[in-house]
Symmetry: D2
Subunit: 288 residues, 4 copies
């Protein structure tokens, strides 16, 4: 996966039921706006609030609709469930699997490396590592990343730490491998590309797919200064729809833009009127 990926929000109705038609529309909506690949069942998709069956169904719908590659989130805290979900994603038409670091129970680095090796050995799909400390409190070391990059079925990584030192250390250890290093934090997308990343998977690409995609295209075209300036103009919007207000904030922002994003699922609660107003203002500023 290269370029700009979107960890696609999943549309639910007010009762939390999956809205399949909205999901189909949403795929078209982001594709028209320039994203290079789609990531159903990532963290921003509320995958951890869905059943195994729902996750498989979401991947199936996205794979049916999408013209771009599909990188499906398939990680669980346990090996068996991760493998099951990955197999279901393969059957549903995904091109690759994004596997979050095992969470809940703590594991040392060696155990995590062995886990990923086992997953990669048995997975029917190429595996992307996924590190997202803000949700998991788990930090996969650059040394482990480098070790895993040599596995023939490990295809890359999404690093959502937002830490550019870490990203540079990962790149240095994987540059001789066929390993797609993807930035997972929208505020440092351009800087990550500068540091040698191959693309990004950005919550921001739900809310402002045109802008997120433009950052990549500017960079690839040699206009890295423009890419950084555009990215800098999106930092506050990105923050509002991620660390500050999360999925409820992102869904409010997308609805403002006319995208069929629906409501968040419980325990999430819909964004308050105050949050909605803040997010709308940031969306409008980004549209200018």
């Amino acid at each position: 996966m290269h370029g700009t990926g979107v960890p696609l929000l999943t549309p639910f109705d007010g009762e939390g039921a999956l809205q399949e038609d909205d999901l189909r529309e949403l795929v078209a909506w982001v594709e028209e706006r320039g994203v290079d690949f789609i990531v159903p069942c990532g963290s921003n998709s509320e995958a951890e609030l869905m059943s195994v069956e729902e996750r498989a169904r979401v991947v199936e719908i996205v794979a049916e609709e999408a013209d771009v590659p599909v990188l499906a989130g398939t990680g669980h805290p346990g090996f068996r469930e991760t493998l099951r979900q990955t197999t279901l994603a393969a059957e549903a038409g995904a091109d690759a699997a994004l596997v979050v670091t095992p969470f809940y129970y703590g594991h040392d680095e060696d155990t995590m490396v062995e886990y990923y090796r086992s997953v990669a050995n048995e997975s029917p799909l190429p595996v992307y590592l996924y590190s997202v400390p803000a949700y998991t409190n788990v930090f996969l070391s650059p040394e482990s990343v480098g070790e895993l990059a040599g596995h023939e079925n490990v295809a890359g990584m999404k690093d959502s730490s937002g830490n550019l030192t870490r990203l540079q250390r990962e790149r240095a250890r994987t540059e001789d491998d066929d390993f797609d290093l993807l930035v997972g934090s929208g505020s440092v997308y351009a800087a990550g590309l500068d540091a040698g990343a191959d693309g990004g998977v950005l919550a921001l690409a739900n809310v402002a797919p045109e802008r997120a995609s433009e950052i990549y295209r500017l960079h690839r075209g040699g206009h890295d200064g423009q890419a950084r300036r555009l990215n800098a103009s999106l930092v506050e919007l990105n923050r509002a729809v991620t660390s500050e207000h999360g999925v409820p904030g992102a869904k409010a922002a997308m609805r403002e833009r006319g995208a069929p994003a629906g409501e968040p699922r419980r325990p999430h609660r819909p964004a308050s009127e105050e949050v909605r107003a803040e997010v709308v203002e940031l969306v409008r500023a980004a549209e200018r």
Copy 2:
């Protein structure tokens, strides 16, 4: 639930398959050694590494075998999955549901209170709150606990923070309610009972059920000094089978004692020979 509960380890074979006969035996093994209630599908049961269906099956087997009450772990990060798991647990014969604070996505206190209210409103079983910051990095405030204690379908709480200040603040806010406050950290069981807790749910009760149960009986019999001394003698064993070596350490300790505990499930790895030796020595010291 009053007295000593055991978050029952789940026996798997070397491939990670559930060993149903061993599980049945294990229920008898802990009951014979004095525990007052059984908690299948708690954190120590590796519930987060099992499927929804497996968790329901484990509860069913334990409910069939147990003569004591069954408090089934049914929490997931999402509301729908928690409710589904709770309903399955009720059908499987559980007496109550232990619902972990929603994890992965961060939620503010108000959202957690609303979440628990929704679960309690719809749950077919009485609900016990479950706070285990070491795994979830989520801290439910004593104020929220006090607020929830007034709900007619909230029956109590397992607090695994190990923090006695917190436990006292929870007790002070729930003492006028019908609310079972359960200690979740084996090293402070006696101190927690001193502070007014009604019992405990202790990983230690897998490895040393006689000892854990004796702490409670001594305390109830007015011998709280003896209870504390016995508890103090178990602090290192408890630490070895929880924060230090986790479920793999606990399973090694149980096998040493002749219990059919089986192997841990991946990503967990079997305890190393070094860990096994350390744990065996602590088990033998506790048996004296």
Copy 3:
């Protein structure tokens, strides 16, 4: 040091100038109310906001006025400054020195053990270890404590972690030494004594010296249940004047009780009217 110690607040005027007469009065005020020893220049004394010379002067005044032993806080991040402050404290009449774990720069366990050994070797006063993770983010392991307890000039420890598991592990490793283990967290004083501590150094003993001292006397008289109940009734007050509102809250509470506590020093700001009202209510409840 045995029994109840008070980390004596330091009275400043509105400009931050040390009020020597008030300090003398304060010594008498807490002694009359039953404390067993006094700790000038602890964390609650705002020692880290004072100069080396001021700290020495405060110790001198307290030593002149006090009829009970004086344990002077003398720790700095650096070895030389700690030794200088300890020597000044000895000259000023202190009986022993309380040395905080070196902070700011991180050090591994071996380095901390070597640091304490060097301080103890050269200190003219018996040394008490002082662990206060809430301020320093430094955790001294029970293993290191046990190792240091064998040094002839290491006399004890103040553990302000509030963690009873840790306290039990420290006690188990020091019970054969002449080592005074002191509880540093007012909410678990009685529980700490139950676990074998020799006393406490409690911010609470500034605000409610009679109550804090009574906990110890009840416990020593064999009334540990009464000690715990009294302690439980003080948990909210203790929290308000420590983790919740800090030194400004404690000074507001003392002024309400008629003690010449003065104002906090900058960056601290005087308690707001709202905080003052909250603290006053808790003080009055404790006086009943």
Copy 4:
């Protein structure tokens, strides 16, 4: 201050005594290698292990020797000591003062803003804010930075968080002020300059002043790609002499390069032979 600053290591002998002649030589050594300004008494100078008088003396020596501007570290946890140290630095010839966020006691954002306002009001030198969460566990918000940037005696900031999102948010809130934003983390120097920083204060500039200075010059000359590539080649060296092995590692690296860096002060211990070998190898790689 613009360009590359060096938080100058302080040479001590094996007993911890300040080596004034070595310090003078060190000033010349870094100046010859291209640094644009010198920062005596920063964190990497072991300032927190020195007395007030020693810190003033170090500033005096550096100011006497230096041909470039001098930004002296003058922060303490307390307001009075910070102001005293700042006044001494002014008398010693410093050009500006670097004031770390108040640490040890926790303070809310409003209190930190008021603290910095008070310092800036009374300081005889222009004040630079200094945020270094790795040492202090204190995070000054970009909002507070923006608020303080408007003060006429607040001249800039050193941000050592290493967090590029944070740096962008600070820049956005200060770009209309006369406010020097300085990168404090050597691994993201080029990226920070890309994001609009005016320079850096880098531990790395002790060990590899030519390289650190070259990053800045390349960037200013419009060769930002080259600047980033050079910076990327220094990430492991930077890490070794900061987060991994700290001041002892940095001093070992400098001695290898022939600079009179001396030994670290206790509690620091000299780098082990193993660490020295690791650091030497990284230094040699950087020299190529």
